[in-house]
């Protein structure tokens, strides 16, 4: 990824005040994120959803009395 592309990524993320050395760091981050994503198992299925569980609060004994 060249410098202009890194700059475009930074702007798209709202990181408009990054200095040249920070943009070099962001370029390293892009590469690190790509590598890390590739390390995820390939067999993850949508059925293995991270569940959002909703619970009704237990009755408040003080209010009940």
């Amino acid at each position: 990824m060249d410098d202009d592309e890194v700059l475009r990524v930074a702007r798209a993320m709202g990181l408009t005040r990054l200095e040249p050395e920070h943009l070099m760091q962001l370029a390293q981050s892009l590469e690190a994120a790509r590598r890390l994503g590739q390390q995820l198992p390939g067999d993850l299925h949508w059925s293995e959803e991270p569940a959002m569980v909703f619970r009704v609060a237990p009755p408040d004994p003080e209010r009940a009395s």
Partner: protein, 464 residues
């Protein structure tokens, strides 16, 4: 009397209760040690001698009047500087928050104050608990007292260093990817990452909320359990806080290990990674000690370390960026280089990867739970290596992935690190015990039996 610098919480509390030790005497002795030694080890970002002496005098008045509050009454403590204490800056060791003064205590700070404990000051951390040992921040990094040029681990580095150097008996740290247990390992002290949700994080700067824990740090195991007795508890203001009956984790600590079934997770340090040979030998020796005490120790297999590490890194990076994105947008130059790099890493984690990492997390939790069936606890390494040089940036960076702590941030299980000996050149070695959720008391029981059988606690760093 024992050197006051290395007097533990239980012993200090008992002497104070019996009026054989004055909280003012203890606090003054520790402040004198801090004045002498902290310029060498940099454990504190802020020492609060006037506040400490005032709190110690108040504790003394109460105790002399017959109003002893409990084992922490009059005992000094320190807080990692991402934990709020009303009226004192919480800096996160960063230029960004140098003037950040909270107007409330964190839940855990309030618990310690209510117990009559005496705050000595705020302790060094890696910047925002993520940065690493950095030399471009307003304060220098903490240095391991076991060697003047040794890395103490992090991010709760000041907490580990202050305990190892005998500057205080009680400290709190936080653990998102191992940050209580890493300094505990490298500084030769005891650190507990409790079950996720057991200790409230209200008033603690977040790093990655689904992985963040507050944990007790002490030199010995009994002290650690006493501290957890105090800080555990439900808090409606922490969304992850668990509502459960209060428990005394220290109650059966001396019940021994006879009949307990312990799984040895050898593949973490012998297949998935190759640990330093002295560190792996220390784990094998610990397994023998526990067998000798009557426990059954046999091999346990969990998922490969890489699976947990990938999962933890993706979640941690993404959640940390969510916390920091406004500061990164407005004041990127005010971060140290290491923290900025690690936080930018989270800027470019895709939403799909984050969701897949959460899917992987659910799978790993199921697999780990299944593997623990029939076991009371697991034994393995904390880190693969003893402490390296603090000014060797490559060595410290290399040390972070060479660890087995992240799995239990992913699963939320309790994990306890205790000293397990020393290398030939005098650097601390450690072991890690892991339990099923809410089995902290059992981990303390195993660790205490091991500690009593081995006596590693008696050794202190040279020159302190």
């Amino acid at each position: 009397m024992t050197d006051l610098g290395f007097l533990g919480l239980a012993d200090a509390g008992e002497l104070i209760r019996a009026r054989k030790l004055s909280p003012v005497e203890l606090t003054s002795a520790l402040l004198a040690r801090i004045a002498r030694l902290d310029p060498l080890v940099h454990a504190f970002v802020r020492v609060t001698p006037e506040l400490a002496l005032a709190a110690a005098r108040e504790a003394e008045r109460e105790i002399m009047a017959g109003n002893w509050r409990g084992p922490l009454h009059g005992v000094p403590f320190g807080l990692k500087d991402i934990i709020d204490c009303k009226g004192l800056p919480t800096t996160a060791h960063s230029k960004l928050l140098i003037d950040n003064v909270p107007n409330e205590d964190a839940f855990v700070a309030a618990r310690l104050k209510a117990a009559g404990s005496v705050l000595l000051g705020k302790l060094a951390t890696h910047e925002f608990a993520i940065g690493g040992p950095s030399f471009d921040l307003p304060w220098p990094p903490a240095v391991n007292p076991w060697g003047r040029n040794l890395f103490p681990g992090g991010s709760s580095s000041g907490s580990g260093v202050a305990l190892a150097a005998g500057l205080l008996p009680v400290a709190l740290g936080t653990d998102t990817g191992g940050s209580v247990r890493n300094p505990a390992s490298l500084c030769g002290i005891t650190g507990m990452k409790p079950t996720y949700g057991l200790v409230s994080r209200r008033g603690v700067l977040p790093l990655a909320t689904s992985l963040d824990h507050v944990g007790p740090m002490t030199r010995g195991v009994r002290d650690n359990a006493l501290l957890l007795d105090l800080i555990a508890g439900h808090d409606a203001a922490d969304a992850a806080s668990v509502r459960r009956a209060p428990e005394r984790f220290s109650a059966n600590i001396d019940a021994g290990v006879k009949g307990l079934k312990i799984g040895l997770v050898r593949h973490f340090y012998a297949e998935d990674m190759q640990a330093d040979c002295e560190q792996s030998a220390a784990i094998e020796a610990a397994a023998e000690v526990l067998r000798g005490l009557g426990a059954s120790v046999r091999e346990m297999r969990l998922a490969p370390l890489d699976d947990y590490a990938t999962c933890c890194r993706i979640i941690l990076r993404a959640e940390a960026f969510a916390v920091h994105r406004r500061w990164l947008a407005e004041r990127p130059a005010d971060y140290g280089a290491l923290a900025r790099q690690r936080l930018l890493d989270g800027a470019v984690v895709s939403a799909a990867d984050y969701i897949d990492a959460q899917r992987l997390r659910a799978r790993l939790i199921r697999q780990t739970d299944l593997a623990f069936t029939g076991f009371d606890a697991a034994l393995t390494v904390s880190g693969m290596d003893p402490a390296c040089a603090i000014d060797d940036a490559e060595a410290t960076a290399r040390s972070y992935p060479r660890q087995a702590r992240q799995p239990f941030n992913v699963t939320g299980q309790p994990a306890l690190v205790v000293p397990a000996g020393f290398t030939g050149d005098g650097r601390p070695l450690s072991l890690q015990l892991i339990g099923q959720p809410f089995t902290e008391a059992k981990l303390y029981r195993i660790a205490f039996a091991y500690e009593q059988a081995t006596g590693w606690l008696a050794r202190h760093p040279p020159g302190v």
